[in-house]
């Protein structure tokens, strides 16, 4: 079966505006979801789930959140780690202080708290932009690092801010095995990704993109820059907050403020640059790439039979990231997602290019 939309007629407005207009795409996505929800939990080993897939899912979620802000609304942020930390510690506090609070409610509330904090740090974006905003968000990053290691109330009195997640339960089902953790993250990711996809296809997304492309023109046609920017900060922080809570609760288990330091923020920025700015798909590509690259580099010397120390590999990782960023910015500013689209367009004509 060739990848074609020939013969697929859109006879109603609804069918014209669906997310995947091409039948083959719909089949592909359905197959992907089937593999993700059924095949992987049945076949995947614990290592695969714990070391690869769970980090990938959570980081995709965080990258998705950042992409809303940077890719769609054009507001650069170097403080994503701070919003993840807010989400993680907010969820922790809610769980510890309100006994019997369901995990999902705690996650949503943590996301909302992160959204409020995100809007507060987004306020400077109303007066400044670009490079200046980068510094303002960096302030959020360093401030969060400090607050979570110096205010004992936020960490329930533990010194140095290291805390341990409570037992996780959803609808009476303990989330303790890697398979259950994986499915839990996957479900949340699917729901939020669908929400973001629909948000950016709709009115709000158009507002963000108009603000990104030219804010003066956007305000001329009646878009309030205040609302566009602050809503982007809120949505982005909500998602990164939930991602932070998942990262802390599900992936790390116990953590300290350093788990959300500036390194995390930069890595997430790299994900969306490499994956594709302004693309939901790109967030997944970028996260997959950044999760896989260190593992690949770790295996590489073994495969080639060259002895290499771990420190050498970590330096190589730094260098590879650096080179990739520059290469992508120069050669393909829209990242892996653009390559994916190019491939799809080629495929539509293949094997008869005319």
């Amino acid at each position: 079966m060739f990848y074609r939309e020939n013969g697929q007629f859109k006879t109603s407005y609804v069918s014209d505006t669906q997310i995947f207009p091409i039948l083959q795409d719909r089949w592909f996505v359905a197959a992907l979801l089937a593999v993700a929800f059924v095949a992987i939990p049945l076949l995947g080993s614990d290592y695969l789930l714990r070391a690869l897939l769970i980090p990938f899912l959570i980081l995709s979620l965080a990258a998705l959140g950042l992409n809303v802000l940077v890719g769609y609304c054009g507001q650069i942020s170097l403080g994503t780690g701070a919003f993840m930390a807010v989400g993680a510690y907010a969820a922790f506090n809610l769980m510890v202080r309100i006994s019997g609070l369901p995990l999902l409610v705690a996650l949503v509330l943590a996301g909302l708290i992160a959204a409020v904090i995100g809007m507060v740090f987004g306020l400077p974006s109303l007066r400044i932009r670009g490079l200046y905003l980068a510094v303002a968000t960096l302030a959020a990053q360093f401030f969060a690092d400090w607050v979570f290691s110096h205010v004992p109330w936020l960490t329930n009195g533990s010194s140095s801010g290291s805390v341990t997640a409570p037992n996780l339960q959803v609808f009476g089902l303990a989330i303790d095995t890697p398979v259950r953790k994986y499915l839990f993250c996957l479900a949340i990711l699917c729901v939020l990704a669908l929400a973001v996809k629909n948000l950016v296809r709709g009115r709000k997304g158009r507002e963000w993109m108009a603000t990104r492309d030219m804010d003066v023109a956007a305000s001329v046609i009646g878009i309030s820059p205040v609302r566009a920017k602050l809503s982007a900060f809120a949505v982005s922080s909500f998602i990164t907050g939930i991602a932070g809570a998942l990262w802390a609760f599900v992936h790390l288990g116990s953590w300290e403020p350093a788990a959300f330091n500036i390194d995390v923020s930069l890595k997430l920025l790299f994900m969306i640059i490499i994956g594709g700015l302004g693309s939901v798909m790109g967030s997944f590509f970028g996260a997959a790439f950044i999760v896989l690259l260190p593992i690949f580099l770790n295996q590489l010397p073994g495969l080639l039979g060259i002895p290499a120390s771990t420190s050498l590999i970590s330096h190589l990782e730094f260098m590879t990231f650096g080179v990739l960023i520059v290469v992508f910015l120069i050669a393909e500013p829209h990242g892996l997602a653009a390559l994916w689209n190019t491939a799809k367009n080629k495929l539509r004509l293949w094997p008869f290019p005319h």
Binding site: Y132, A134, V135, F142, V151, T320
Partner: protein
């Protein structure tokens, strides 16, 4: 009283280093409109090169060689990165320098090693007691700090002289003023960028040298350099005097805040005090203390 003066001096000393880092930022931003996130990585790279070369040769020679390396680096950055990104958004360029920063951090530690290395310039380590007639107890000033501050001041004076008097300096100022106009009267833009990145490399080398001789060269150098960002915001992105004054203000304010406000807030406020200061300045006076007013509707 003696303690206050010592705190002030310590603050000013770290201020000198912040000012040097900020100077690197400002030079590059003025000449090419690039917000160089990699300045910290350049400091680390230059200091590592200097420290390791110095193990085999006297330090002036190591300094010269390290400078040569930084010039080559500047040429490579222009050739491989900046040339392909001409006319891009400031944010794209910022992200490109993030890439450069990561690359340099990896390369520097791979080539030169990732331990803590001392830089020994043969400076006197023992402090001098001054003002012991005026204030009971006197004030201790480290000779090393004094020499460092003097050499930093000398570097700034030298750069100012170079920018004001030499032909290349004049061309650089023209480029900083208006890229197109400079190009149209025959100033080669790409060569100017190499020169300005090389000068920023020199500034990075001096910064790394001073810092390294005090505390040893290690990875955290490139993180400390993140303090340069609030300094340039404070002083104004396009102003050399602003970078210096901003650096001194941040260094001083940070030390005083740590000593006098720190105990009340639980300590460690040095890590974000500079950013808070920069945020306040951004909200009140977005162009910084000395910067040009850029009319930019948001």
């Amino acid at each position: 009283m003696g303690f206050l003066i010592e705190t002030v001096i310590a603050g000013l000393m770290s201020g000198v280093l912040y000012a040097l880092i900020a100077l690197g930022f400002v030079l590059i931003f003025k000449a090419s409109g690039v917000f160089n996130f990699a300045q910290g990585a350049m400091v680390l790279f230059a200091a590592l090169a200097m420290a390791r070369l110095q193990e085999h040769m006297p330090w002036p020679l190591a300094f010269a060689l390290a400078f040569l390396i930084m010039v080559m680096l500047a040429w490579l950055i222009e050739r491989l990165v900046l040339r392909h990104l001409v006319n891009q958004h400031g944010v794209t360029l910022l992200m490109a320098t993030l890439g450069i920063a990561y690359f340099l951090e990896g390369l520097g530690q791979m080539v030169w090693g990732d331990d803590i290395y001392p830089i020994n310039l043969g400076l006197p380590k023992q402090p001098t007691l001054v003002l012991d007639k005026v204030i009971p107890g006197g004030v201790l000033i480290s000779n090393e700090d004094l020499i460092a501050a003097i050499s930093a001041a000398a570097l700034v004076a030298l750069l100012t002289l170079f920018f004001q008097k030499s032909g290349i300096g004049r061309a650089l100022r023209a480029v900083a003023d208006d890229h197109q106009a400079a190009q149209s009267i025959g100033i080669p833009l790409s060569r100017m960028w190499v020169i300005v990145w090389a000068i920023a490399g020199l500034v990075a080398l001096v910064t790394g040298m001073i810092w390294g001789s005090k505390l040893g060269v290690q990875f955290s150098l490139s993180l400390i350099a993140l303090k340069g960002l609030p300094v340039v915001i404070l002083g104004g992105l396009t102003s050399v005097p602003g970078a210096i004054v901003g650096g001194l203000i941040v260094g001083l304010g940070e030390k005083l805040a740590e000593v006098y406000l720190g105990p009340a807030l639980g300590g460690g406020i040095e890590s974000w005090f500079a950013y808070l200061l920069a945020l306040v300045v951004l909200l009140i006076r977005p162009q910084g203390l000395f910067g040009e007013r850029i009319i930019d509707r948001v």
